[in-house]
Structure formats: C-alpha cells, structure tokens
C-alpha cells in the first residue's frame, strides 16, 4: 500500500493538481467562514429571541423555537437539496457555492442556537434581577452580565459544532460545489487511486478541524477565567 503511494505521489502532487486542491480548500473555507460566521450570529439571535427575560411577546419566542426545532432535525444533505430546489422554484440563478453556504448557515444557526440557549439558561435568574436593579436594559444585561458568565457553558459545544460544520461542507459536493470532497472525486475519476486522492483530503480535513479546535481553545482562554474551565 505504501509502495503504491510513493510511486504515485510525484504524479499526483504536481503544480496544477495542487492549485486545484487549493481552490477546493478555499471553497470549503468560504462555506465554513460565511456559513458558520453568520451562523454564530444568527444562533445567538435565535437564542435571545427565545429568552423570556428579553422577549415579552410570546409568538415571537414560539417562532424562534419552531425555526430551531425544525432546522436542526433536517439532515444536511436534505437541507442542501431543499435550498437548492427552493432557488429553482424562485427562478433565481445563484452559484452552487452560495447554496452550500446558505445550507450550512441554516444548519449551524439552529444548532448553535441550542448551545447559546443552554449557556443563557445556565446563568442564575438572580443575575438578571440584579442587572435590572442596576438599571441595565435587557441587551446591556445580556452583553455585560449574562454572556460573560455563560461562555464556559457555550464555548466547548460551540467548538465541537464548528468542527461538525467543517465536516458537513463535504456534503456540498453533491450539489457540485468544487470543495475538497468534490476535488477528490474528480482526481479519483482522472485515474489517481482512491487511496491518495481521498487520503490527501482526509489529512486536509483533519488539519482544518484541528485548527478550529485550537481556535476554540484560544477563545476559551480569552473568555473564560481559569477556575471555570473544564
């Protein structure tokens, strides 16, 4: 197995193949960055919409719950198809990369909303009362009182969720987004062995996930005081 690998390597790692893989890696990164970046914001927004202390209007809270409960129960592959064919229905001509990023956004927003909600609920209600006594508005309470105490609960599952999203982008290959998995299939179909084609992108995915895990650890160091880290 190793012998075939080393025999094939010089033919596989040529300049243009590396450019091809780099383009694919770039598209994967775009989907992760755009989808998850907006997903974190939207997830926080959905969690806040669900918070009784902030939103007094019950139907708005129910709407937020419905969105989260529906979208986190749909597999990424089905979500991709759904978004893909919704644009067909609307008659809009968008790039496949955009569809991929949007599906990742919908999924990550609904998953992260649950993480944020668990974090917000982990803060004792007295903290909200105390902040209210200090005449802080609901959003100021959230930013200055609740979130700083919620980070220890939010960050670890959020990091795992982000790694999960990196892995979920591999499904965008099914709607022909040129990302890592799609690139590996193309290289495989051009005659390179599955071992080297898929092996290479497995390493790339691993490095990407590892980098995100490090990023999560860094955020934890910055936002969570030492005695509260797991």
């Amino acid at each position: 197995m190793l012998a075939t690998l080393s025999a094939e390597a010089p033919r596989f790692f040529t300049y243009w193949n590396l450019v091809f893989l780099a383009t694919a890696l770039g598209n994967t990164l775009v989907m992760v960055a755009v989808g998850c970046g907006l997903g974190v914001v939207a997830g926080l927004g959905l969690a806040v919409l669900r918070a009784k202390r902030i939103v007094r209007f019950a139907p708005l809270r129910w709407a937020a719950i419905l969105i989260v409960e529906v979208f986190r129960r749909i597999p990424v592959l089905v979500l991709l198809m759904f978004v893909f064919f919704t644009f067909q229905l609307l008659g809009l001509n968008v790039r496949a990369l955009f569809v991929g990023a949007l599906a990742i956004l919908l999924r990550s927003a609904s998953l992260f909303a649950e993480n944020f909600r668990a974090g917000l609920e982990s803060v004792h209600p007295n903290q909200w009362d105390a902040a209210e006594v200090m005449n802080l508005g609901p959003l100021a309470t959230l930013r200055r009182t609740v979130l700083p105490q919620a980070w220890p609960v939010i960050l670890p599952p959020l990091t795992i969720g982000l790694v999960g999203m990196v892995k979920a982008t591999s499904l965008a290959s099914q709607i022909s987004v040129l990302e890592l998995t799609f690139a590996a299939r193309q290289l495989n179909q051009r005659g390179f062995s599955a071992l080297i084609a898929f092996g290479t992108i497995l390493v790339l995915y691993f490095l990407l996930s590892f980098a995100i895990a490090r990023l999560g650890a860094f955020a934890e160091r910055r936002l969570v005081p030492k005695h509260r880290r797991a």
């Binding site: 197995m1 075939t4 409960e69 529906v70 129960r73 749909i74 597999p75 990424v76 592959l77 089905v78 979500l79 198809m81 759904f82 064919f85 919704t86 067909q88 229905l89 609307l90 008659g91 790694v163 990196v166 892995k167 979920a168 982008t169 591999s170 499904l171 290959s173 099914q174 890592l180 998995t181 590996a184 299939r185 495989n188 062995s193 599955a194 071992l195 898929f198 092996g199 992108i201 497995l202 995915y205 691993f206 996930s209 590892f210 895990a213």
Partner: protein
Amino acid sequence: MGYTFQWGQATGYIPYLAGGALVALQLAFFGFAIGMVIGAACAAVKVYGPRAARRAVDGYISFFTNTPLLVQIFFLFYALPDAGIFLDSYEAVLAGISLNASAYLAEIQRAGFISVRRSELDAAETLGFSRLQTIRHVVLPHLLKTLYAPLANHYIVMVLGTSIAAIFGVEELTGRALNINSITFRSFEIFTIAAAMYVVLTVAASASLYWFGLYAFRVRAKVF
C-alpha cells in the same frame, strides 16, 4: 415565480418514503450497536490500558471525529478494493457509520467509566459485595443513568447522519426521495416532504427514547 406546485404527485409516495425512514432507523440502529461494542473496547483501553495502546486509541478517535463521515465512507468504498476487500454499498455505509460512531461512543463511555467514584466502589467492598455484585448493583445502574442521555442523543444524530447513505445508493429516506425526484421531477415538493419526515421521525424517536429512559432507568433525559 412561474412555478406551479404539484403536491399531488409527491404525496402519493409518502408510504414509500416512510419505508425509507424505517431503513434509516435500522441503519442507525445497527451502526449504533456495532459502534457501542468497538467504542466500549476503546473506552476500556483508554481508561485501563497501557500508555502505547492509549495513544493508539487517541489517534483512532481523533481521526474519526475530525474527518467527514462522507469521506470516510468514500475511502472504504473506493480504496479498500485495492486491498482486496470488496464491500457493497450497504456494507460500506454501515461500516463507515459504525466506525465513525465508535469514536464518539468511546468518548461518551469513557466519561461514564471515570464518573464511577472510587468511594462508591469502596462502599460496595465494605458491604462485602463480590466483583459481579459490584458491577450488577453499583457500576451498571450508575453507568446506565449517566450514559443514557448522551447515548440517546447520539442515536438521534446518527439517524440524521444516515442520509449520507443515499449518496452510495442505499435506498433509505433520502435515497428514496432522490429516486422519486428522478421519476416525477417535483423536486421542491419531494424534498419538503422528506425534510418534514425527518423532523417527524426524530421528534418521535426523541419522545420514545425519553419515555423509555423514564420507565426503564428513571432518567429524565433531555434527548436532542
């Protein structure tokens, strides 16, 4: 918009899709069962094994949790034939799902193993329990209670994960949706129904796992 909905063409296939949902549940169940066995072995090695073996298991777990399931299955499906191992699509998908699950289940079970406190075991010894009695009356009830919620959770996640099988031609819920799509071309309608079925399926699975946990182990598990 210029698009006319034709729900009638899609709704006729709902029983066919429901059959696919059963395949999804079954695939997740087999994957879960195999993953539990491999995961338990890995967890035991991680807690009690020698250093080198622990390192190896760590590598195994971080490989399977940090790379996409889809690529793992591609690898099994396309690279193993070079080594003389031929898997059909269902077997390759099941193998991929099981191996992937085993890494996550190993971590969950390890957390359970180390959560059994030394003092509980000491208390059992003081009461004169034999080794088997200790396992039966002290360790197992504790494990079932602490592990039920995360395990049930992971099962639901796996049910959603089985949709990947469609890419390899296994006719579960998503695979059947793709089939119908290529017959009727009512794509939007079909995938709306398929998505709704996944929501109903996982809500039903969550509810039944919650009730099962409540009656069998008296755990109020928050299931997905």
